[in-house]
Symmetry: C2
Subunit: 151 residues, 2 copies
Amino acid sequence: MKLEEAIKSTKFKSEVHKAVLHILYTAWWLKSVGAKELKEFGLTHEQYNVLRILKGKHPEQMCVRDIASRMIEKSSNVPRIIDRLELKKLVKRNTSTVDKRETVITITQGGIALLTASTLVMDEKMMKQFVLSEEEAVTLNILLEKIREIE
Amino acid sequence: MKLEEAIKSTKFKSEVHKAVLHILYTAWWLKSVGAKELKEFGLTHEQYNVLRILKGKHPEQMCVRDIASRMIEKSSNVPRIIDRLELKKLVKRNTSTVDKRETVITITQGGIALLTASTLVMDEKMMKQFVLSEEEAVTLNILLEKIREIE
DNA sequence: TTTGTATAAATGTATATACACGTATTTATT
DNA sequence: AATAAATACGTGTATATACATTTATACAAA
């Protein structure tokens, strides 16, 4: 579906203005397509993101701050996302012995299993379905980098 | 700042995979840059979006469903966004005389004034600052359209 | 008319976002 | 060592997201 149909809007002030709306709409679209798959595993997008970050360092532990710095949405409230993951026994919390201010988090075996299964589905149902080629993705990445360059 | 720095991640499964994360990150970045400006006017991104949609049809009224279909994030809870706009006297709610199930919304003079002022700032502080050219924006729009084309 | 079904909006609930603030702990400065 | 400043995390609040349910109304068929 074209952007114009999606948000029932035909006139944009400029192509740049349209691109801004387009990025916002596409992000929403990507999130909702992904969320549909993750729901099968009882995970939200943010919980999945935290699990992926933890798995990346596993078996090392990570402190909350360290996880937060790797989140896509920087204003994510990581302690609360961890609350929910802990309730489901997907991660474990401990106070750091080195710095008692820090809480260190570890992904559990259950967390790894759930992440592996959900990533398999996510890659199959999302990544592999895109018509976009690798070359086009390179261009897209360059342009997105550029929009964040501000005068 | 490069994406790699922003989310402290260097290896991506592919350029397409990176592009997906990049779109999500750029959308978050755009939203937070915009939100900072809107805060001066006591508006959230979503409230601003609803006001813009209403202004587009003004002086015609719009029903809730019609507004919802024009929202960028389709799962927005429009009645509740309108609740907040109504409290601030930026919009008015009425029951439709044609179909009593419908609630019709009108933007008030105060709403128009606030929207005009905030749009001026948004265009100045955001749109005009982008380094991206119109030609690059066209390419970006084509590529974003393409990523939503699924096999 | 009555019944059933569809539709529009509002409302409820869990989670997340955005941001301010509090508390404990560490590090730096005097 | 004592005090100040910075840091890490948790918590509180308003708003939003995502989705299910409820209520009122419209409309078509029995």
